[in-house]
């Protein structure tokens, strides 16, 4: 599974995923409570072994599965490049 498929699977496991696509507006389409927001961040950090900085935790980076996947891939790419 690639990055976004793994993230998609997380949503399918945790949330009602009817009609969910990689571009669905996650933060607007459904009220995300503080616990679920935390779960997403924790999942991303654990699953992909990345530590997100404060700046990276933003609406832009979490507004869709595609956006989260891009954030993760940027992170992994940067680490590989070091």
């Amino acid at each position: 599974m690639d990055t976004r498929e793994q993230i998609f699977q997380f949503f399918v496991d945790k949330k009602k995923a009817d009609g969910l696509t990689y571009d669905t507006e996650l933060l607007k389409s459904r009220h995300i409570n503080s616990l679920f927001a935390l779960q997403i961040v924790m999942f991303v950090e654990k699953q992909f072994q990345v530590k997100l900085s404060r700046k990276e935790i933003s609406v832009e980076n979490f507004h869709s599965i595609n956006a989260i996947a891009a954030l993760v891939d940027r992170h992994l790419g940067r680490q590989e490049g070091q």
């Binding site: 945790k14 949330k15 009602k16 933060l27 459904r30 009220h31 995300i32 409570n33 503080s34 616990l35 679920f36 927001a37 935390l38 997403i40 961040v41 404060r54 700046k55 935790i57 933003s58 609406v59 979490f62």
Partner: protein, 343 residues
């Protein structure tokens, strides 16, 4: 304002030669140790929850506890032949209590060491002098509030809710809808102040600044017209969770500043913090002012930062660990469908 020490919120009892005399499997356990019953009742009165971690036959030990009329005082007792640290870990995660807020009372130095290796910050006591233990600073509570006296019943309701949640298959929000939660947001009055102080002292993970306030400081804030100070109570089909959240807004000339947002860890999965944030955005819209929020990073409260950021707040100022965030969305946030809010 001050920092809170590591207050004990949960006492985990050993049974043999700690709660009762002798070893149950060797014919002991006929009588409680002197002062044990008084200690259990006093901890309960102070709102400190209790559990049991004991190497024993589970059914026999529970029967004996019931024989003493004490079985209701202990939440999720862990009685088995497994290592004690496993039982303690299970209690901490079930009750959502941090190791430094828990205490083990166990006569065996071996067991105390085994548990401390797994949880170095957990308090531990040999229980030889129970009255003396209860007089230690970490066991003191500033007031006995209504919420404290009901705490054991609330934890029991929480445990029932948790097992219902585990049995529920489907979306987390759909589960929340089955609870029929009612959230009541009201101005802080003098009668609430003891509970308010208790919330600021007991809550670390869901505290936006980590500030704690004294009773007198809180009294002043509740009377100061520049502040909008709210407390919220939560009830649902499983029972009354009591007063679980606090919101302090400073109504400044050019902005509404969120000074403090605190939510009891017991209700963190039920959308209370989000609801208080929604309330703040709605209040700001009504006043026609931007909403600013102070956040002070502590060891535990990253969840608060994540909540703010994913709710659409953006950083406007940064000074080390202290941040100023601004709600950057055009529309105020509506309350979630699964909450029936009165405010």
């Amino acid at each position: 304002m001050g920092t809170s020490g590591d207050r004990v919120k949960c006492v985990i009892w050993d049974l043999d030669n700690t709660l009762w005399e002798g070893t149950l499997s060797e014919g002991g356990g006929a009588a409680l140790r002197p002062g044990a019953r008084e200690a259990v009742l006093e901890l309960d009165r102070r709102g400190i929850v209790q559990s049991v971690a004991s190497k024993n036959d589970r059914a026999a030990a529970l029967r004996r506890l019931a024989g003493f009329g004490l079985e209701d005082y202990f939440l999720c007792p862990q009685i088995s032949w497994n290592p004690k640290s496993a039982g303690v870990g299970e209690i901490l995660s079930t009750l959502n209590i941090k190791p430094e807020a828990a205490a083990l009372v166990d006569d065996s130095a071996f067991e105390r060491d085994e548990v401390r290796r797994a949880f170095p910050r957990l308090h531990s006591y040999d229980g030889a002098d129970l009255a003396g233990m209860l007089a230690l600073p970490e066991f003191q509570v500033p007031f006995i509030t209504q919420d404290a006296a009901n705490r054991r019943a609330m934890y029991r309701a929480d445990l029932a809710r948790q097992s219902a949640e585990q049995a529920f298959t489907g979306d987390a929000d759909d589960f929340l809808a089955t609870l029929h939660m009612k959230l009541d947001i009201s101005p802080v009055t003098e009668a609430d102040l003891q509970r308010v102080e208790e919330l600021t002292i007991r809550t670390h993970q869901l505290n936006s600044t980590g500030y704690t306030y004294s009773y007198d400081e809180l009294l002043e804030l509740s009377r100061d017209p520049r502040y909008i100070f709210r407390i919220c109570g939560l009830t649902d089909d499983y029972g009354d969770s009591g007063k679980v959240g606090l919101l302090l807004l400073e109504n400044g000339e050019d902005a509404l500043r969120l000074k403090l947002l605190i939510v009891s860890c017991r209700v963190m999965s039920r959308g209370t913090g989000s609801a208080l944030l929604c309330y703040a955005t709605q209040m700001a819209a009504r006043l026609g002012k931007p909403l600013l929020a102070e956040y002070l990073e502590t060891e535990y409260n990253r969840i608060m930062y994540i909540t703010y950021k994913l709710a659409g707040f953006e950083e406007v100022e940064e000074d080390g660990d202290r941040l100023l965030l601004r709600y950057a969305q055009e529309e105020p946030m509506p309350f979630a469908d699964y909450l029936d809010v009165t405010c």
